[in-house]
Symmetry: C2
Subunit: 249 residues, 2 copies
């Protein structure tokens, strides 16, 4: 009850005061980031957590529900509370808004074309808030939906967050799960900026289309659960058979 490893986070010094449930939520989040509980693992029950933090069960509940809204944990009645995991099947479409025009539940595939450690180009420096001399690993991929090339992707990963990823020989096509399981970088949110551009000759070769065809250019900045910018990604998407789909409310 006393001297628990959870205690030190709470009881702030009355300045910049935060409600208890926010302090609890933040403590739990930090423990997850620090890998006290791993992705997929169960947290202690509400009752147990309430003891550890010396708060009521209701306060823990409010904290856990907040983390559920943020998709940091998932809860199942009668079972428990679990650290969210980017499993291949589960979250494949969460950050993949490109849909085939006709209905098609096929999963997108990815074909890795090159991996290279290099100096960060200017736009990656800006997007990822790097220093001029920082290095990045550059991945080039081609993605396939319904047996057709649908987009090309150029992905920049800061060396500091993904050390030696360029030496890996086993980079899978479910990247976000790979980031989480191998580099402890859990993708939490993305900011996508969409433009329309004309296909260059290189684009045309890559996607088996004609130069001058219209393409969607999606620039993505990816943030981790800790709020760090961990990925900058440029995707060029055919939009003749596909569309970028989004719901606003």
């Amino acid at each position: 009850m006393s001297n628990s490893m959870f205690d030190h986070k709470l009881s702030s010094p009355s300045l910049d005061f935060q409600p208890l449930y926010l302090q609890v939520a933040d403590s739990i989040k930090q423990l997850i980031v620090k890998r006290h509980w791993l992705p997929g693992e169960a947290l202690p029950s509400e009752f147990r957590l309430a003891e550890e933090f010396n708060v009521s069960q209701g306060t823990v509940r409010k904290a856990l529900n907040l983390l559920t809204d943020n998709k940091i944990v998932t809860r199942r009645q009668g079972v428990g509370t679990f650290v969210s995991e980017h499993t291949s099947q589960d979250a494949l479409f969460r950050f993949f808004p490109l849909q085939a025009d006709g209905k098609s539940d096929n999963s997108p595939k990815a074909e890795l074309l090159s991996v290279e450690l290099c100096a960060a180009p200017a736009e990656a420096i800006k997007a990822l808030q790097l220093n001029k001399k920082d290095k990045v690993t550059k991945l080039v991929r081609r993605r396939i939906l319904d047996n057709e090339f649908c987009m090309s992707e150029t992905i920049y990963l800061p060396q500091s967050y993904f050390p030696d990823i360029h030496k890996s020989s086993d980079i899978p096509h479910t990247l976000y799960h790979y980031y989480q399981s191998k580099f402890n970088q859990t993708v939490h949110k993305t900011q996508d900026s969409i433009k329309a551009v004309l296909a260059t000759i290189d684009d045309a070769k890559m996607l088996a289309i004609k130069a001058g065809d219209p393409l969607l250019l999606v620039s993505r900045i990816t943030e981790s659960i800790e709020g760090k910018r961990i990925e900058y990604r440029l995707s060029k998407c055919r939009s003749d058979h596909y569309h970028y789909q989004i719901e606003l409310d």
Copy 2:
């Protein structure tokens, strides 16, 4: 306490049971739809609502917080709970994801080019789930950001939900607020489908660009708070100085 106008909604017959707070939330939502409280008006306090519905204050609180998440009401500590309103300033950007590339907080303007009652075209019939012979009002607008034409819009509104809107002489450029205040149709969510296309000669004239320039084509289906499809909208957007911006989490 008994025989209140709120009572009849609750106490379901144990089949298809819903938790109390969901029943309360739904009842409040229905009362808002039925204009028992108008947009911008204050609801009774939690304590009063708890009396009316014969539930505890905590249950009402949970219902109101749910409606807050759904942006159906807004709450201000020390003041009260209010029916959300599409005021010009407040929600102007909520459903307007097109941003100028450089930072610019200018509000978009709209120039209404034509209003016409006509037979619904096939794609509007499909998008709005209309019958073949239903009529729609078709609006054509041109939108302006930073003193430049940025997009053209073609908007289809079902006659049944917007009777005689084509006869109005005072259609403002803040359409969603107009829908709410004049036709009791509150926009609740939109589904946007984005493609890249080449500007036609007409597009080029409309936006003062060249034919063949790449444009974003955004097809939007708009749903009201009651879940009815109330608007189908095709927007063609320049993307040389602008981009469609979206956050996923």
